[in-house]
Subunit: 347 residues, 2 copies
DNA sequence: CTGAAAGCGCTTACAG
DNA sequence: CTGAAAGCGCTTACAG
């Protein structure tokens, strides 16, 4: 059987209260008794039982990561978020449980009601999200990775879409591109209808094109390789003057490139393609490897935990954090070729 | 404040023991008192505190999923495993905590020592894995997703590599292929040196080719798109007679196809490519979309939990489970073209 | 069928 | 600086 504080106390010849004080460093203890206790703990291989601590202190030091599985996620893989959130939690001596539950809020209420977790980290937040209201009513601390449309009073961390889009556009503009297309994801599926990233990316794109006297063109396609292939044809037909495409969804970005290939369009000679707020792994798979703005997935997981813990520990509620992606050069963007752009036509 | 069992007991005019009996359905209670108690619970919105229950019953109903993050995983994404494991846990009224810790076993010991979890599910198991010995010594129930070389006495679920490879080879043989190459992953990185899937895939490949009087050729490349590109050149140079390739790593499979493209080799006209034990998402991205044997990632997560829970609940320790992948047709495999295969040479 | 009571392994006022 | 004791919210023999 594992040693308890009682065992430690007996061996050190003190009360369990004193043992607790040295473990938690919560009261003055003379160096001598401290040493005796520490020795006893080492001898017995003592490890504090976190369940008993949780019950007594009314703090479990467990937080929940809530995400609707099998859906989209703001840039980066879910695994990245989970892993970085778990790491950050662990460093603060917290545990992370995962609740891959639907957007339906009943389940959330039931789970929170069990009293297992001190706080909740919400992922894949929609522009209007029922879960946020539920959590407010449940009176449990929570933070968001992503954000609703109205963020007043909320703790959140999210992608800085403005800066990220600016990085992509600056890169293209520097290469001489003036005719661009934003290939965004379809909003047909219900879960994409209130999808913040698309809305914010598009707003940034429109703002930046306007500021530069450029014409904004927004196209949409299904979030799949097939969707991207189909978009390649549409793009060639509907926006033949475009010299550069910004692709918001990584699966369709790959499909787009494959489709352009088949149509005989060379990348980047005929058309530059840049993937925005996606993963490096996926971008590396295309031929040529894509230039992209890498989504800050790993970072956001940790930042979300930080925001939540700050609230849990009662510190100053932290300011919202927005993180931009990072521009990584691939071989899919290049200087505008004045001639080709206008000449090429679909077959 | 949340209602406790004491509140319920008072309202129903019974003792908290009786409340406990109806909640857990652990002793006979007259229908009348049961009803009174259930009404009281509903009125108060009572939810049992799982922490108190855990302390009293010495069962936390929490299990840990242990995986070294940022490393490889047996087919399928880590997110799939986590999600399916969490779902399966939740259905059995368990919670899943994630411990993305290194292979170093000290951390594992410390975490288990906290007494938070009833059992451990180990992912990304190596052929020889120090963590297995550690867990044995810790005297905590555990199960493996994947398996060590020596599996005696272990509870595990894993991919059925024999059947999965057979599916792939049967498909190729049916199309008339006799000259095949297994493109496996490099084992240079230490974490791949004791990587079971490669060893088992290769063993199955060698067995099947032998049974069919075919010559086995095994090549290796880095687990990345770049590795696959480089392999495309090597393949064309070193095994020009090959008419089909089985690709074990999904990133390099995509790179291989891109590389073959650049070398002017048509898929599947000149060369068939089949991706083995990988994800559909990745296969769909290539041009043409790859035929593949889909890794049973989602299923294995749930099966692993099942195996662990069976042991936890003291039922008959379940037989090891091996699950084969599923063959999904893409457009990257086709009938052998007798002429081309031998004629084509690298430029 | 139901209840009184001990106990799970800690934390935390309260005394001294 | 240290200890005795109550209490966290349950489960579970043990009685009746």
């Amino acid at each position: 059987m594992a040693a308890t504080m009682k065992d430690v106390a007996e061996r050190a010849g003190v009360s369990i209260a004193t043992v607790s004080f040295v473990i938690n460093n919560t009261k003055r203890v003379t160096p001598e008794t401290r040493l005796r206790i520490e020795t006893a703990m080492a001898d017995l291989g003592f490890r504090r039982n976190v369940v008993a601590r949780a019950l007594a202190s009314r703090r479990t030091r467990i937080i929940a990561l809530v995400y609707p599985a099998l859906e989209h996620r703001i840039g980066g893989s879910i695994a990245d978020f989970i892993t970085s959130a778990a790491r950050a939690s662990s460093e603060a001596d917290y545990h992370l449980v995962v609740w891959p539950i639907s957007n339906d809020a009943t389940e959330l209420t039931a789970l929170v009601g069990q009293g297992l977790v001190d706080g909740v980290l919400l992922m894949e937040v929609q522009l209007e999200d029922a879960r946020v209201e539920v959590l407010r009513g449940l009176d449990i601390p929570f933070a968001l990775i992503g954000r609703t449309r109205d963020v007043s009073g909320l703790d959140y961390v999210d992608i800085d879409f403005d800066t990220s889009m600016q990085l992509a556009m600056d890169h293209l503009i520097e290469l001489g591109h003036r005719e661009t297309v934003l290939l965004s994801g379809s909003q047909e599926k219900i879960s994409y209808r209130l999808y913040g990233p698309y809305e914010r990316e598009e707003a940034a794109y429109r703002r930046i094109t306007e500021e530069n006297g450029m014409r904004p063109i927004v196209m949409r396609c299904a979030q799949s390789a097939a969707g991207g292939r189909e978009a390649a044809a549409r793009l060639t037909a509907e926006a033949p003057e475009a010299t550069a495409v910004l692709a918001a969804d990584e699966a369709s970005a790959a499909g787009l490139v494959a489709g352009l290939h088949q149509l005989g369009r060379r990348i980047p000679a005929d058309l530059s393609v840049i993937s925005v707020l996606n993963s490096k792994e996926m971008a590396a798979v295309s031929d040529p490897p894509l230039t992209l703005v890498v989504a800050p997935g790993l970072e956001l997981g940790a930042l979300g935990v930080e925001a939540l813990l700050r609230r849990l520990e009662g510190g100053t509620p932290q300011e919202p954090v927005l993180r931009a992606g990072i521009l990584e050069m691939g071989e899919s963007t290049g200087p505008v070729q004045r001639q080709t752009a206008r000449r090429r036509r679909p077959t």
